[in-house]
Symmetry: C2
Subunit: 342 residues, 2 copies
DNA sequence: GGATGCAAAGTTAGCGCTAACATAACCCCC
DNA sequence: GGGGGTTATGTTAGCGCTAACTTTGCATCC
């Protein structure tokens, strides 16, 4: 009220700044800054007037200026290998849900399973001066590792476990592959095939679990295993089944490294009139939403992807606050879901 | 060479800056800036020395400072309603592929189909001072529209068309729904059901296309239509089929608004021993990767989502460069894929 | 009633970079 | 051989904000 100039932001010119708001309210810029960032430091009535002015002028803070002045960007970079995979999308959702209320913006990068792309993305995103970084797995290439080390920014790895002292939240990929295979063995299957695509480190570790379980049972036969570097997909599942049945026609069960492969296998079985699970049992991995609804319902491994995002984000919050998390490694386990397809 | 100080960046202290590089090379900061941003302005030999120094010191530019000094952030914000939907993921990939080589970083926001979340996200992302904005559809709420207007940043809308003068790249949702229904009618189906979930504006428009086609043929019956506000999913497809068959057991075809619904319907038909397409034809929408591999293969509508991302990003590049695109609206069409499920 | 303390607001300087202008160096040509 | 142009580099200032310190105002207490 009283003698306030009523300039409204001049259209077409530069955006409204803190100084504009300050002039409008009749206080100094720092007071506006405080009212917005540390409201407790400003008297109620003044804060009220400031809030009104902000709204009236349509003030939008400039993050670049804030970041430059405070050396904190309030941004967190998350790199995932794929956005086409529901696993990572669920994790991203959890991360956003955890970080956003705490004032951190999530910057998402899709590395497409390519360490080179991951390095490039990381390099670009470091320019944003993130306060924290969330990575998938430990498969960074040398250049990326060097970047990370010299950037010296709190970092948490997701999905996998490791005891090198790096912060990580996930589950044992090896164990989960082992357990699912063990489960098939316990059900009486003896000629168990394995189909994998993409061949990222986690896929490979699950394959190792499969192999270990079969070796232990004296039933491992290399020709029952097909690993394909192409991305995982339903079509890939159908193709790989064809290939597998050609080189090992007597398989009685198949461990598909991903539910989408399993779906492709299932449809291909329908086309070939192979009864599931009577003639061929099918198991998948990840428990995608659809997997409960296939016909027959798909046996799979439920992975705690939302929880991983939550716990990793919370661990990162601790690190960004300069505190030490209780432990460097959090194992969130996995769960076998035995359904009608096995 | 010669008398260069060999200080290496002091670990633990603040990051290496342009000035550090300048001091190391023995030139002024602006020259380093130029060597990195406009290499043609610096002599080859000097640029070589600068590049070496940058590598040696591990210099990472500070985007906040750059953005503040130049009033250009080299960032583009993209808001999509969902990351669980392959449609938007493919569009995002196209956008990144188009913008990244041109020096723009893509900031991804997931609005979860909620206009309120979209507004909040937009508000936050505007703090990054994006040079351009890509939005999905036109369903921004009032506050978001006001924000957009006063921010005065080049904006392109994706997926839908509109003739209000806003820039957009997409296809006619109404027409595609109409065309698919028409196709079913031409095949001789007379009691065509419609299943929709999510009920976002695009879903609704496709439903209107369905209705128009049936009305035109004198075959529209409201009880054959079910629209559910919950997100689309395979499980939802199974549930909605149950509901539909309860209120309209004599349907001879079903238009599912999304391929994942169609997949759920297909599995549910298998469970109920309903022959597809003999007893019930099924059509989906979007042509997800899996749709070619279902049993029977799914009739669906292929949507040009990658092309939409490309064209929208290119249009945005034009706008950000201050040029006028040839037209405000680009219709990329759609394609009926008639397969065995109808 | 003046020293003390605390709360609320202000002043100053600078984060790291680049726009805009200034200068220096060199070339060309009549 | 000096005006005019071109190219390569430097100087200055400031983008919008906040950290750190300073000032002001006011209540409190012996």
């Amino acid at each position: 009220m009283s003698a306030m100039t009523d300039r409204k932001p001049r259209a077409g010119q530069s955006r409204v700044t803190l100084n504009d708001v300050a002039a409008h309210v009749g206080v100094s810029a720092i007071t506006i800054s405080r009212a917005l960032n540390k409201p407790a430091l400003v008297t109620d009535s003044l804060r009220q007037r400031i809030d009104d002015a902000v709204r009236q002028l349509g003030y939008v803070p400039n993050r670049a200026a804030r970041s430059l002045a405070s050396a904190r960007s309030h941004s967190v970079v998350v790199l995932v290998p794929s956005l086409s995979n529901a696993v990572f999308v669920d994790t991203l959702a959890a991360i956003h849900d955890t970080l956003y209320p705490r004032g951190y913006q999530t910057l998402i990068g899709d590395t497409r399973y390519a360490p080179q792309d991951e390095e490039t993305l990381l390099r670009t995103y470091l320019e944003y001066n993130p306060d924290g970084i969330l990575l998938t797995g430990f498969d960074q290439n040398d250049a990326a590792s060097t970047l990370l080390r010299s950037a010296d920014i709190p970092t948490v790895h997701m999905m996998e476990l490791d005891d090198s002292g790096r912060y990580c939240v996930g589950f044992s990929q090896f164990d989960s592959g082992y357990a699912l295979t063990r489960q098939l063995l316990d059900k009486g299957y003896r000629r168990i095939g394995f189909l994998a695509a993409q061949l990222d480190p986690r896929t490979i570790k699950r394959g190792e679990g499969y192999r270990a379980a079969l070796r232990e049972a004296g039933l491992y036969q290399p020709h029952r295993e097909i690993a394909e570097a192409q991305p995982s997909s339903v079509g890939q599942g159908a193709r790989l089944l064809d290939e597998l049945l050609r080189q090992a026609p007597d398989c009685d069960a198949i461990f598909c490294n991903n539910d989408d492969l399993a779906l492709g296998v299932m449809f291909e079985c329908q086309r070939r009139h192979i009864a599931v699970p009577q003639q061929l049992a099918i198991a998948g991995f990840n428990n995608l939403e659809m997997s409960a609804w296939t016909n027959p319902a798909l046996t799979t491994v439920a992975t705690p992807r939302y929880a991983i995002g939550q716990v990793a984000a919370n661990m990162l919050l601790e690190l960004m606050a300069g505190r030490q998390p209780d432990s460097t490694t959090v194992d969130l386990g996995y769960k076998l879901l035995v359904r009608d397809s096995t």
